[in-house]
Symmetry: D4
Subunit: 208 residues, 8 copies
């Protein structure tokens, strides 16, 4: 008895960025802030690079949670942006669900802050609604590894697939030949070790 | 094939606080004592805030296990309090099960000390009895991460959902508009980073 | 759809101690040696205390793996002791399986060195043979946490229940009233924090 | 060749709390926020308990650094409070140094955020000015353990004594008989394990 | 309801070494480089020792990813070596799948760099194609433990078995009597603690 | 310019065990309880083995701090035992200092709970009084590694020598030929790895 | 006896960036690559912001060590750049020492890869030559924390001051009023938590 | 006041390898065994490469401590090898000191097992005898980081310089031009990341 491999497909995927707000980010303690910032921007650049429809949402921007981090706002000026008036689970917001459904995609790539609430709740709702959900674990943050592991366990048990932004990039791209430079540039911007490899390589080659 | 998302419902949930006793707490080594105390009190305050029926139980209060921590006793003066005469699994105590069933709730939120015994045993029994069980992982403590992970694995494999107190609060509340101040106050009391956000915000706003 | 809670039963359980040999123990690096020694002896004392049939086995005692640690040998002078001539999976040894089956028990409590071989192989075989298997994670050791987690995952996916020796003791005992002193003594010998609780308690009481 | 033991003396010590501001606290990542909040409040309560003159100072309260945490402000309503207009090293602010000197004390107990700037700079200046300086390491926070260790090394090399709030309390009190209840209460409020010891003890004694 | 134990069989297993390239190895940060090098070579020696068909593959050898590490190239001069022109998932490369199928084996032992891409993708594809897949977790590396755990979770949920090279060796060998010296030599080369055991043992014996 | 090596001398050393009380031990969180218990007993056995004069002291035995752990009391029935009526620094107690001076020794070996108070204060006092002080770091415990490192730094800066019980044993013994079995037995009782070495060795030798 | 506080002075400091080369960076394992890249660029921006003379040097650019990371090269197009032909200790290169001396500065701020070689050697040489040396610990990387701590110990014992880039920035700037925006911008670019504080603050203020 | 930089000099250095015995190595728990084996062999190869006189010594080879690891014995067939009959501090053995003095060198490079005994004791003795001592921290091992840090502190306080084998190699070599290939080969054999750099580099260059 084998089951099919549900694989990310760049023609059938939408990216949801949930509550990456300047205030809420101070709650994230399970990933170092330098790395976390990098991972979130890497996921955002991935969405741009693969031209995936992307939906932004925030919770209570006017209060202590703070605004969406400006980098994300600037990268997706035309994306649906749902500032939820109060719903904690973004999937409880009709506009948000409508925006997701309007894309016509069946695969959801999701990340947010904090993992057990802003990521887990819409993930569980979307799974119940029949979507395939791919959680970008390293672009989602929470208080500590106990709360993270609990959230991952709950989402996985419900059928979500746990991934990293790098894994998602590889699965969406499928073949380097589709665009070597584009993918290389995405990696080089967000993986210092990869950038070093490229710079070493280019330098030696330039000397030929 | 999708399955429904079993979601915490404040009208259908009961909180079980198992064996948070002054002696047993010295066994907890997988969470720092400052953080653990805070998490347990946060869960207790959550129960008060959402007016969830709450049941307290202890094991051998008169011996080295020590009494229930006074804070919990004081917060729930009228809650059913079952000082078990000997049963290690609280669910083996008829009064305890009767108290749970008397609430008429189908969802159990549970935490206790130590995780693999005082939490896991009643969790497995309650699942077998048809309840939905939500384990508050960060308000439950044990000897080390090996014993914790084993206990989490066993409960999850049996169908329990692993959560944090913050995740439970979010799922019970559903919408900030139900009471912004109340939930904000709960978070501010138990999450220093959130309190700082609120204090920064209020200060700037006060100057307008 | 609820499933029954398979619970350790002192009348239906056998303990398997696999390859706790003086040489092999130097391979264990995922648990501190002081703690590991304590956990293994705690499990052995648990077996004695609950009068569970216990089976010892070793692999290549005459070579660098070294002999069974003398403490275990001394504690179970009359237990079946299968010095396997070569089988790596103890379950491949007919004498060993015969010894297990001769006990007539359906529940296996197992621990050993190293986790992914000496514990995992007989666990998977026993599960396939229809036994319930309870792995004592903290009395089993291996090279590091990557190999441990892989082994735990593999056994859990096959249906084993992951436990600690303390959890097993609690589940076997069921009710403190069956013997307060006996269980208290087991805990006091192997949990320094519990011993301290008892000594503090006894001292104050003695002064009444 | 022996040198004298420079020992905290409650009649010769002043406490400096430097830049524990709601915004700056989000930079502290080398101590868990629950524990850090507890340590800072413990130090503040220590100052109150021993009636040590205490001086508060902040940097740029009106900007993103945020106000002094309200708890500290409320605990020391009459203490000198120097909102520095710009000096990063509090010792560069004449009012601050004047306030310190006005106390007539020669021993400085200092803590703040972040360790390598707000604590280290005035510590080095005060040492150069001939004061004895006792750094409360666990009520001072910074980005990570590399920056912390560097700061501790720099201060220690210059002659500062590194302490914890608990160590300072013990050295100031000298003898439990000066006030058993007062010191016990300070410990009980800020050390969960100590509170548990006291509650266990009181319960057993109450039953005599 | 028991399920069969799918057990590694040296007559039915093929080893896939995916993208252990000199450049990509600099991305591996979840295992120390000394240990990782050792684990990869141990797996390679295991393949040689059990005479398992082995297939090598790389991605973009001519660019910054760098060539296959020379040790592997030298150990398997006659093995199928598929330098993929662009496919990120090796299973998308027809030659690679053909090479696997040509072995006629149903069990796949796989390791590579990085875990969530080069290992996970072909693992998920192979499972979907009906193979049994055994992932050698300690010979596969990635960025950090969050990305590793996510990858392990995804593969395990799809039916892969997580193992270590040592576990695989034990399961393939079955019985020490098949060749004591060969297996001992494999262990001695790659486990310093085991080598020490052997050297101690041999020395004492030599003196008899 | 060379300085002499101040070396532990079994004819000139006294052991001070400070406040290893059943209650206070629950405060120790920087060393695992199994290991800490072992280290303290190892130091006690070291004192017995080398027949070093040993002085016991406690603080407030009648309150929550609890009694001296019975093992120590039993091992040194005739040792000076100073139950301090209130002095936090044992050196402030005249009987304690008199007991130390009565031994006529110039080298102090000290351990206790908690490190920054019960160990550091008498260490600093004794150094000021002209003694050489050797702190047994692994038989002294405190809240966490920040407080430990601060205490070690303070003591080291004042001239104390930081050691382990194993290091002290080696320095006191000087030459294995003084008593091979005695020292081997001390190590074997308190170092599981050493016990395993001995058991492996004895087994092979017994077969000659 | 007090000693003066040797304080960084922007008019008397030179920055040395030693061997931050694309190949050598792959050796750095004691700091996460995202964070390390950020710290190195922060130090470089600090040098630019305070207009400190800056000297770049590399070792064997043409071999596997790789070229200087391009970001640094681009930021300091006119800085002295000494590609050392072979000297491992940069201070052994006459051009390098001449470049340092040509600045006329007495304070050296240094960082590099790897810490115990490229940083420690010129630090020790410069100290011996009478310079004050400030080591930026978090912009210097090495193999692991054992090698790092050894290197820090060696440099500190020789008189170097251990700092972080943030501490250096604060000490150089002295007073926020010298330029609020400039320093705020430096922090905001390199400390995600600080950027979040600023964005939260600006958003609330913008709404006034 | 500047002091000279005491720098390793290949014409004035001797290497002491103390008690790297097959049994004692099982006590080393502060460094992973794969890495530790590599570091010890790297130091041995360093000694060979720089043709430094090298002295081997062991303690009780005939007992459970086991023989010197064969690799070291084989690498230095003609080196003085002092099998100490009982002295724990190698410096207490006259033959050993004579062997050291016979080299006429003033700089001692030392490593051994365990750090606080076999390394620290001869280090302190040699310092007292007027030698410069360089401790190779990563080729010396002990029980845990508490015992390691205590030992490092004690040796550093006495004037020893703490180093890594890589740092020692760099300081001895002084200039790559003395022998590029030799030093590169030493690094390549013992630093997997460096080997990868070299292999990547050579591959690209070979294609020119």
């Amino acid at each position: 008895m084998t089951k099919p491999y549900v694989r990310l497909d760049k023609d059938d995927a939408v990216v949801l960025l949930v509550d990456h707000q300047t205030g809420l980010l101070s709650l994230v303690r399970d990933i170092d802030p330098d790395k976390f910032k990098n991972n979130v921007l890497a996921l955002a650049n991935l969405a741009k690079y693969f031209e995936l429809p992307t939906i932004l949402t925030t919770s209570f921007e006017d209060g202590p949670n703070g605004p969406l981090v400006p980098e994300l706002k600037n990268m997706f000026p035309d994306a649906p942006f749902i500032a939820r008036p109060g719903q904690i689970n973004a999937w409880d917001n009709e506009d948000f669900v409508a925006a997701v459904k309007a894309t016509g995609k069946k695969q959801i790539i999701i990340a947010g802050v904090v993992t057990e609430v802003c990521v887990a709740f819409p993930t569980l709702s979307a799974l119940a609604a029949g979507f395939d959900v791919f959680v970008i674990t390293d672009a989602s943050g929470t208080f500590n590894d106990i709360t993270r592991n609990a959230a991952h366990n709950r989402m996985s048990a419900a059928g979500a697939q746990l991934m990293s932004w790098f894994g998602a990039a590889g699965e969406l791209h499928r073949d380097w030949r589709n665009d070597v430079e584009g993918l290389g540039s995405l990696f080089s911007q967000h993986i210092p070790d990869y950038r070093n490899l490229m710079n070493s390589y280019l330098t030696v080659n330039a000397k030929k």
